[in-house]
Symmetry: C2
Subunit: 423 residues, 2 copies
C-alpha cells in the first residue's frame, strides 16, 4: 500500500517498525560503502596480465621503442581499437594517460585560454561561458566546470537523452559554449541517447559558433545484458550536419582494465584533434606508451575488449540484480521511491520522496553506510527536489551490497514516514 | 691560430679545406641526430626490470590496491625517495604521471585561471604577466610560457645561476609573476645555481606577492663526474626568508628510468601543495599508482637511485668526453667557438661566431646531421646573437656521435670562414 493511502496510525506503526529496524542496523556497526563507481578486486583480477606486461619486448608494431620519449598521439595499435568503438578513423583518435577526465579538463582549459578553432576569442575573454548540464549527471563533470567559473544550466536527462526543447532554447544563447553528455548508460540514470536525439544534437542551431559537446562515452562497452547497445555516431552525424567540430568524444579503459592505471582516449574532427595535439604538445612530450603497449597486448582487438567486458558483466550483473531485487522487495508498492533499471554502466539512480534524500544519506551515514552526498549528481551539489541518490553497486562484495541496500531501504522508508508524519 | 690573425689567403685556404671536408661529408650521406636529450637504448636497458614489474603483488606498503582509483598525491614510498632529493618532507611532495613538464603546465594553468594562494586575482585578469627566463635555457619552458601569452624577459644564465642584478630589477615590476630555473646542470649550459644565488632568489624583494620560481630540478642526480653536486635547498631558504610559497620544485625519473614512462614530482610549501592538489583533484582521480609501485620496487631508495645514476654515468661520460675532445681538437685555438664543459645533465652548449649559428645548423642539416634549430634555447626561438647551438650527446652511439661532432666542427669552421671572408 502506498504511504498516501495509510491512516496516521498505520503510518506511525510503519515508522516504528522501520525505526526498530534502523536501531538494529546501527547496533550492527556496519562499515559499507556505496559511494563511488569503482571496479571490485575480482574485476581488476581479469586484467592481471598487465602486472607483468609487456615483458622483454618493448617495441610496438612499427618497431618504435615505447620506453623513450615521443609519439604524442599514442600507440597506433591501441588507438585503432578505440577508433572502432568511437566510430572514427584512427588518425582522429588520441590515446593519453590514465584519466579521460584529464582530457576533458585540458580541452576545457585550452578553450578557455586559447579558444577552439571556431572561437572568435579565448573563452576567458567572454563575459560569461555556460555549459548545458543534463541532470542527474556526473558530479566530476560539474565540479570541473565549476572550478573554472563556467555557469551551469541544468536540463532534464530523459531515458533517450537530454530534454531537447530545453537544450535548443539554451543553445540559442551565444554564451552557451557547450554541454556535458554521457551518451550510453549515463551516470547515474543509465539513460542511452537515441539516434534521433543524437541527430538533433548534431544538427541543431547554436548561437555560439564554437559550441562543443563533451561526449563522455565512459560506458561505451559496459553492458549489463546480452544486448550490446550501440552508441550513436555523433561525429559522423555532426559532420553530415555541417558541424564537424561540434563533438569531442572521450573514452577510457578505467572500467575495462585497471581503474587507476588505464588509458584514456579523445576523438574528434581532424581540425579539433590537430588543435588539441598542438596545445597538448606544450604540456608533454608524450603519453606513457609502454602502458599503451601493455594494453594493446592485453586487449588485442575489439573482440578482446568485448570478451573482457562479458567477464565484467558476469561479476556485475548479479550485483545490479541484487540492488533491484532489494529495492523492489523493500520499497515496491509504497509509492516512496522510483529507480532506474540500467542496461549498462555503473550506477542505479534512486529517487526518494522529495525533500528526504539528504535525510536518507544522513541516516545511512550514522548506520555506517556511506553514500555519495545527496545532490552530488547536480551542479553545485544542489538537487532542487532533494530526492536523488546515486547507488554504486560495483565495489562491495555481494553480501555487503545486500546488507547496505537493505539498510538503505530502511532509511528511505524511515525518512519518508518521518516526513509524512510531520506534514 | 685564431681566425682574426689569419691573412685573407690563409683564411681562403682554410675555407677551401673545410669546404672540401664538407663536400665529402655530404657525399657520405649520413643520418645523424644531435637534437634531443633522449636517453640511449643502453641507458633504458638499465631499467629493464620495469618491463615485468610489479608482478603479482600489486599492493603498496600500506596495503593499498594500486590498480584501483584514488590517492591523488601518489605512492608514499616513491614520494619519500624524491622528498630526500628535493629536501622536503614527504607530505610536501606529489608524484604524478610521466612528465614533469605537465606539472609545470598545470601549475601555470591553475595560476592563470584561479590564481595562486597569494594572488590578488587570477593571472588572466592581470594586464600583463611576465616570466623571467634565464638564457640560454630550456626550449620547452619557453614554448609553454609563450602558448599562454606570458611575456618572457631574458636574463643571462651564468655558471652560478642567473644574473641576479637583472633578476632583482625585473622582480621590482609587479607584472613579473615568476621565473624559470633549472638549478642543477642547467639546460643547456650545465650551470649550477650556487648556495649564494639561491639564497638571494629566496630572499629578494618582489613586487608581485605571488611571485613563483619554477625550480625545474630535472637533472638533480644526473652527474657526469664522481662529484655529486648538491642542489641548494630552495624551499628551506625561501621559508627561512619568509617566502615559503615562492618556489615550486619539479623533478622526474624521465632520465633515470624510462623517458616516456617515468614518474614526475612536484614539491612545495604545504599551502602550495594543498592548492595544487585541490585544483588537480578536478582534473583526475589520481595518478598511475601501479607505475609508482613499479618505480618504488625498481629504485628501492635514494641509494638505489644513485647507484642507477652511476650506471648512466658510465654510459654517458664517455660520450660527453668525446664531444669535448672533438670540439677541442677541431675548434680549439681558432677563436671561433666556446663551449660548456658540464659536470652533469644532458647537454653541451656551443657558442659559435656571432651570426653564424643558423648557418651552421643549415649546413649540418644538408649534410644529414640534425641539430636543434638555432635560437631554440631562447624565448620565441630568437637568439639575439645567433650564436648558440645545443648539443645533445646522449642518444647516438659513440661512433655516430663522433661522426656527427666532426661534421658539426667542419660546419662551424666553414660558416666562420664564410662570414670572415664576406666581411
Amino acid at each position: 500500500m502506498t504511504f498516501d493511502a495509510l491512516t496516521r496510525d498505520q503510518l506511525q506503526a510503519l515508522h516504528d517498525d522501520q525505526q526498530a529496524k534502523y536501531d538494529a542496523l546501527k547496533a550492527a556497526g556496519l562499515t559499507l560503502d556505496l559511494t563511488r563507481g569503482k571496479p571490485s578486486p575480482e574485476q581488476l583480477d581479469l586484467s592481471s596480465d598487465l602486472l607483468t606486461l609487456p615483458g622483454p619486448d618493448f617495441k610496438d608494431s612499427k618497431g618504435i621503442d615505447t620506453r623513450n620519449y615521443g609519439g604524442i598521439e599514442g600507440l597506433t595499435e591501441l588507438r585503432a581499437i578505440f577508433a572502432e568503438i568511437l566510430h572514427l578513423p584512427v588518425e582522429q583518435v588520441v590515446a593519453g594517460d590514465n584519466a579521460s577526465l584529464a582530457m576533458m579538463h585540458d580541452s576545457l582549459v585550452f578553450a578557455l585560454l586559447r579558444g577552439t578553432p571556431d572561437s572568435p576569442r579565448p573563452w576567458v575573454e567572454e563575459d560569461e561561458v555556460t555549459f548545458i548540464c543534463p541532470v542527474p549527471g556526473y558530479d566530476r563533470h560539474f565540479a570541473l566546470t565549476e572550478q573554472y567559473g563556467i555557469r551551469m544550466a541544468p536540463v532534464e536527462m530523459r531515458p533517450d537523452g537530454p530534454d531537447m526543447t530545453a537544450v535548443r532554447e539554451l543553445a540559442a544563447d551565444p554564451s552557451v559554449k557547450g554541454m556535458w553528455l554521457v551518451p550510453t548508460y549515463s551516470n547515474p540514470t543509465g539513460a542511452v541517447v537515441s539516434e534521433a536525439v543524437a541527430a538533433e544534437l548534431a544538427a541543431m542551431e547554436t548561437a555560439a559558433p564554437d559550441f562543443r559537446i563533451f561526449w563522455d562515452n565512459a560506458y561505451a562497452v559496459h553492458h549489463l545484458t546480452e544486448q550490446r547497445t550501440k552508441t550513436p555516431d555523433i561525429a559522423g552525424l555532426s559532420a553530415a550536419s555541417g558541424h564537424p567540430n561540434r563533438p569531442i568524444l572521450f573514452a577510457s579503459t578505467s572500467k575495462i582494465t585497471f581503474a587507476g592505471s588505464g588509458v584514456c582516449f579523445l576523438g574528434s574532427s581532424e581540425e579539433n584533434v590537430a588543435w588539441y595535439l598542438r596545445l597538448l604538445g606544450k604540456r608533454t612530450i608524450g603519453p606513457d606508451k609502454l602502458n599503451h603497449l601493455r594494453h594493446a597486448r592485453h586487449l588485442r582487438d575489439l573482440d578482446g575488449v568485448l570478451d573482457l567486458m562479458d567477464r565484467h558483466r558476469a561479476i556485475l550483473a548479479p550485483k545490479f540484480a541484487a540492488v533491484l531485487e532489494i529495492l523492489e522487495d523493500r520499497l515496491g508498492g509504497h509509492g516512496v521511491a522510483t529507480w532506474s533499471e540500467p542496461k549498462g554502466g555503473y550506477f542505479v539512480s534512486l529517487d526518494v520522496v522529495d525533500g528526504t534524500a539528504s535525510r536518507v544519506v544522513e541516516l545511512c551515514k550514522e548506520a555506517g553506510i556511506a553514500l555519495t552526498p545527496a545532490g552530488s549528481s547536480f551542479p553545485h551539489g544542489q538537487d532542487p527536489r532533494d530526492r536523488n541518490i546515486r547507488i554504486a553497486p560495483s565495489f562491495p562484495s555481494i553480501d555487503d551490497l545486500r546488507a547496505a541496500m537493505d539498510g538503505l531501504a530502511t532509511c528511505v522508508l524511515l525518512a519518508a514516514a518521518e516526513k509524512q508524519l510531520a506534514s
